[in-house]
Symmetry: C2
C-alpha cells in the first residue's frame, strides 16, 4: 500500500471513528476525493482496503456506505474475539513469560483502576482496549492479532453508544487481574477459561444494552 493510499485509509478511518461519516451514510468517490484533496484513484484503493476490513461496503452508483454494526453483528464479533483472545491468553501463559513482558497487561489494569476511581469512562475504555490488544499480542499469533484488530475496530464504534449507558464496570477489572495472574503463573487452562468467561459476560452486557437502546430509539 502506497503512502497516499495509507494516508487516505487513515483519514477515512478517522472520519468514520469520529462519527463524521456516520454509520449507514453513503459517500461518492468524487466527494471523498475532493475532501481529501486527492484524485479518485487512491480513494478507490483506500475504499477497497476498508471494504476488506469490513468498515464500508461499496455499491456501484451509491458510493461507499459506512457499514452500520447491528446487534447481530456485535454478537458475531464478540464470539470471534472470545475464542481467539482466549487462545491468546492460553498461549501467553504457556510461554511462561516474565513479569516484565507482561507489563503492558498490568499497566493497562492499573490505568483502568485509576480511570474507574475518577469515573472517567473514556480513559477506562482506552485502557480496556490496550489490555485486550496487549493480551492478543502476547499470544504471538500474527493472524489472531490482525483479526482481533479488525474486530475491535468495529466494536469501538458501537461502544460510543453504550459507554454512558452502562454502570461503571468495576468488577470487570477483577477479571482482567485474574487473567493476567494466571498468565504470569503459567496456568494456561485457567487463563483461557477465565478470559472466555470474561468475554462472554461482556458480550451479554453489550447485547442487552444495545437492545434496550434500540427499543428507546424506535
Amino acid at each position: 500500500m502506497s503512502k497516499a493510499v495509507s494516508q487516505a485509509v487513515d483519514a477515512l478511518r478517522q472520519l468514520i471513528f469520529s462519527g463524521s461519516l456516520s454509520p449507514g451514510s453513503d459517500h461518492l468517490e468524487g466527494e471523498l476525493a475532493e475532501q481529501l484533496k486527492i484524485s479518485r484513484t487512491p480513494v478507490r484503493e483506500a475504499l477497497l482496503v476498508l471494504e476488506g476490513q469490513g468498515l464500508v461496503t461499496l455499491r456501484p452508483r451509491k458510493g461507499a456506505r459506512i457499514r452500520p454494526v447491528s446487534t447481530t453483528d456485535m454478537a458475531e464479533i464478540y464470539d470471534v474475539l472470545t475464542e481467539l483472545e482466549s487462545l491468546a491468553a492460553a498461549d501467553a501463559a504457556h510461554a511462561k513469560l516474565s513479569r516484565a513482558r507482561l507489563w503492558p497487561l498490568f499497566d493497562a489494569i492499573e490505568r483502568m483502576d485509576k480511570a474507574l476511581a475518577r469515573k472517567d469512562r473514556e480513559s477506562w475504555a482506552l485502557a480496556d482496549d490496550d489490555f485486550h490488544s496487549a493480551l492478543v499480542a502476547l499470544g504471538n499469533n500474527s493472524r489472531i492479532t490482525m483479526i482481533a484488530q479488525m474486530m475491535s475496530d468495529q466494536v469501538r464504534r458501537a461502544r460510543m453508544v453504550t459507554l454512558h449507558m452502562r454502570p461503571l464496570p468495576t468488577r470487570s477489572n477483577d477479571d482482567h487481574r485474574a487473567v493476567a495472574d494466571a498468565i504470569l503463573a503459567g496456568d494456561a487452562e485457567t487463563a483461557r477459561t477465565l478470559h472466555h468467561a470474561h468475554r462472554r459476560a461482556a458480550k451479554k452486557m453489550l447485547i442487552t444494552l444495545l437492545e434496550t437502546h434500540h427499543l428507546k430509539c424506535v
Copy 2:
C-alpha cells in the same frame, strides 16, 4: 468490487492455487496486466484485495510476491481454524438442526469414505474441504465463515505438498462422523471438544510432515 476486478482476482487465485505463480515469486503489475489482457488499474485493485486476503505481499518496485506459507504460518492458521471451527460446531449443535440441514456434512463424510476406498487422495481432500466449510456455514456466523475461508485458502496450498506424503487418513473420518453425530444430537460441548481434538491432531500431523519435508529439501 467490479466485474473485471473480481475476474482478475479469480484468475490470479487460480494461477496461485494451480502453482503457475509459485510461492515466493515476484510479478510486476505490468506483466500480470498483459497476461490477463487488461490494464494495470484493475490488476492493482485485484492485488490489493489479494493482499488483504494474505495471498500476496506488495512491495514497491519488486512487484507482487506470492506469499510462501511457512511452517509457523501453518501453525498459526491451524490454531485459528481450530478455535473458530470448534465454536461453529458448538453453535450448530446448539441450533438443534434437522438431519436435512446437516446433509452437506454427512454427504461430505460419505464422499470421503468413497474416496478413501479408492485411495483417491485428491477427491478426499476436496470432500474434506467441503466438510469443514459446511461445518463453518452451519455455525451461522458470517465473520467466522469469511475468516475460515481465507485461512483454508492458505492451507490448501500447503496441502499440495503434503497430500502424498501422509498415510491415507482413514481414522480422520471417524472424527468427522462423531462431530456430525454430536451436532445432530444437539450436544454442543461434545461437538466442540471432538472437533477441537480433531483439528489439533490434524495440525500436529501437518506440522510433522512439513518439517520432514523441509529436511528433505534442504
